[in-house]
């Protein structure tokens, strides 16, 4: 591209410098705060003070930070779910629905199975059941994608709305298994105490945080070191290469989507084991599934980085709720605006990570001389 007398060219980098890998997300957060600041200013909230409150309520105060870590726990799961699928160019955007189903599965195990189990294994059973329900919810889109090539983007998303109505049916529309029979007030039936974790001290952080962090580190290692991880990387780069090398694309597609779904389901079960203890329609308001996509994209599908971006985003949410409840109420939607803006900037920044921008001056020397005969 030539603008005036300068020529702007992009050259692909072979390796991205380390500092850019950190600088691009940091700069994205900064630029997103500027965009958010403009909207805050327009609606009559002083941006600096609002951000100060947000920081304090979300990250720097003790209870702010522990609330954030508590909320980050399922968010790490949905972030991993998105990262696991997206890194293979499979766009599972149904984490929201898979998370709901994980919550349903976890609650079912916590009510039906937990009384027959020793407390030591009750919690793992609830978590595993949640993961299985999450995987089951993505089974149909996964098979359709692997067998027929049906776009998983739209199919997983449509199922989010089905899952949403399912939760509403369980809690508001029926007097079934998942609803608390002891009160006319529509709320979920509590799972057995033995199937729940106690929080750390007086905080809202639960031991499940350690489980999700451990899983993130494990997956980080797994996709780099295992044969399976290697095959998914090859498939992501070039499906035809993978096929020529004899890799089974149907199996890879199906299994990656199922693992993705189970990770999101696990997040839902962690919510049951931890703060909720029941099928709680309150989770419908948080949008943990959609936020998981942003978390994964900002982490560039790196599982360890997912932990950090999940904590960042959970803090926005926690700080945002505190702002909404303060004397100068700022709508909590500002947290979602910031999430979207961070992702948009990070996407644009990818170009500079992958390419070197070369600017050269165009001189007059390349004039073509016409009609020169020697």
């Amino acid at each position: 591209m030539i603008v005036g007398k300068t020529r702007i060219q992009l050259e692909a980098r072979l390796t991205s410098p380390r500092w850019l890998i950190v600088a691009v997300p940091m700069l994205s957060v900064l630029l997103a705060s500027v965009v958010g600041g403009v909207f805050l200013l327009l609606t009559g909230h002083p941006p600096l003070r609002t951000y100060g409150d947000l920081l304090n309520n979300g990250y720097t105060s003790f209870y702010g930070l522990t609330d954030t870590l508590g909320l980050a726990t399922p968010l790490i799961c949905t972030g991993m779910a998105a990262a696991f699928a997206f890194r293979m160019n499979l766009y599972n955007i149904g984490q929201e629905g898979q998370l709901y189903l994980g919550m349903v599965g976890g609650a079912w195990a916590g009510i039906a199975l937990a009384p027959h189990l020793t407390p030591f294994i009750a919690v793992p059973v609830v978590l595993v059941t949640g993961a299985l329900f999450g995987a089951a919810w993505v089974l149909v889109p996964a098979l359709l994608r692997a067998r027929l090539g049906t776009s998983e983007i739209v199919s997983t998303l449509l199922l989010n709305y089905v899952a949403l109505n399912l939760i509403n049916y369980f809690i508001f529309g029926s007097r079934g298994f998942f609803r608390d029979p002891s009160t006319p007030f529509p709320q979920g039936r509590m799972i057995y105490e033995s199937a729940r974790f106690d929080p750390f001290g007086t905080t809202n952080t639960y031991p499940t945080l350690l489980v999700s962090m451990f899983l993130a580190v494990f997956l980080f290692w797994f996709v780099r070191s295992s044969n399976y991880g290697y095959e998914t990387s090859v498939f992501a780069d070039s499906p035809s290469t993978a096929r020529y090398a004899g890799m089974n694309s149907t199996w890879l597609t199906t299994s990656v989507l199922l693992v993705s779904g189970s990770l999101a389901g696990l997040g839902g079960a962690m919510y049951v084991v931890g703060p909720a203890g029941k099928v709680d329609p309150g989770i419908l308001q948080i949008g943990l599934g959609y936020a998981g996509i942003v978390v994964a994209a900002l982490a560039r599908y790196n599982f360890v980085a997912v932990i950090l971006t999940a904590i960042l985003f959970a803090g926005l949410r926690v700080g945002g709720s505190a702002l909404q409840a303060s004397s100068d109420p700022v709508p909590i939607a500002i947290a979602v605006v910031l999430q979207g803006a961070v992702l948009l900037f990070a996407l644009g920044g990818e170009l500079f990570r992958r390419n070197r921008v070369v600017i050269t001056r165009v001189t007059e020397s390349h004039q073509v001389i016409v009609g020169e005969v020697s």
Partner: protein, 312 residues
């Protein structure tokens, strides 16, 4: 149960289809140029809330609709900049726009949340024609934008298949390198059609606000219509006139739960009935992905692929 109710449901379906048609026409134009825009849901919400706020402060319906169009075009401009110039992942960029649009519409719509709409789009009175049985409510019972949308679908269809710029557009989606070799700027074609597509989605949101929704509420305004519009593009196999047929069909499915509720028919709980439009969309998608159907569809071949000319 009388048949009158079902005629009215069908007329309602045609009416609700307007948003679906506008949104899927927008997505279709964008995709024909080789750019996927998954952000439809976000564009509809932003179009709706912007229209509402403008109407609330000025009382001018047409001004409000223009604002909806502008906001849709502006969002699409961001999408085009990210995906065409900066070569970002189109899918993730579209999703980011959904999240951004959802958040921003909720944020700027907070002060007017729950307020009833200040203006509405009136239906055109055709005199006695509107009172005709059957034909009256179905053909002569709509507002100007609905008729405009039908006309728009027809013109876009002619544009795609009967004009030179339309040919270039389709070529850009199928073989950008060829278009580039012809000396036509791929970048310009993609920018232009992405922005026009976004404008149509914005209008779809604005129209929905003033014709269908009673009041602004972020949670209850679009309810996934944007995603259904995306499935509709596949259903219509990237052809504008088929989008009308599909939209009416999908609109009917969206409308049935309300009719059943209104008639006090409780065969199934309302939550279960509400799942039907989404499940039906899924079934349609599956039916369209069989190898036989795929050959007939004709999706733009380079959909989602950024075009990079080897610059030397």
């Amino acid at each position: 149960m009388n048949s009158n109710v079902w005629i009215l449901t069908f007329a309602d379906a045609i009416s609700i289809a307007t948003t679906l048609i506008l949104a899927s026409l927008g997505a279709m134009i964008t995709e024909r140029s080789g750019v996927i825009n998954l952000g439809v849901e976000g564009y509809l919400l932003m179009g709706a809330v912007t229209g509402f706020i403008v109407a609330d402060s000025t009382g001018q319906l047409w001004l409000a609709l223009v604002a909806s169009i502008i906001v849709g075009a502006a969002m699409a401009l961001v999408h085009a900049t990210l995906t065409v110039t900066l070569r970002a992942n189109q899918i993730v960029s579209g999703l980011a726009m959904v999240i951004f649009g959802t958040g921003l519409s909720q944020f700027i719509g907070k002060p007017v949340e729950g307020k009833t709409r200040p203006v509405i789009i009136d239906k055109i009175k055709f005199g006695t024609l509107s009172d005709l049985p059957l034909v009256g409510p179905i053909i002569f019972g709509h507002d100007p934008i609905t008729y405009l949308t039908w006309l728009l679908a027809l013109s876009i269809s002619l544009y795609f298949h009967r004009t030179r710029p339309g040919l270039i557009l389709r070529a850009t989606g199928d073989a950008p390198a060829t278009v580039d070799a012809q000396g036509v700027s791929v970048r310009r074609v993609r920018y232009l059609h992405t922005v026009v597509g976004g404008a149509l989605m914005g209008l779809g949101g604005g129209w929905y606000m003033f014709a269908r929704a009673a009041a602004w509420s972020q949670a209850a305004t679009t309810n996934g219509i944007g995603w259904i519009a995306l499935a509709l593009v596949v259903f219509a196999s990237w052809r504008p006139l088929r989008a009308i047929v599909g939209a009416v069909l999908f609109g009917f499915c969206l409308q049935v739960p309300f009719t059943l509720q209104g008639q006090q028919i409780n065969i199934l709980p309302p939550e279960i009935v509400s799942m039907f439009p989404y499940l039906m969309t899924l079934v349609v998608l599956v039916a369209l992905s069989t190898p036989r159907a795929r050959r007939l569809l004709g999706a733009p071949k380079m959909l989602g692929q950024p075009f990079v000319r080897d610059e030397r």
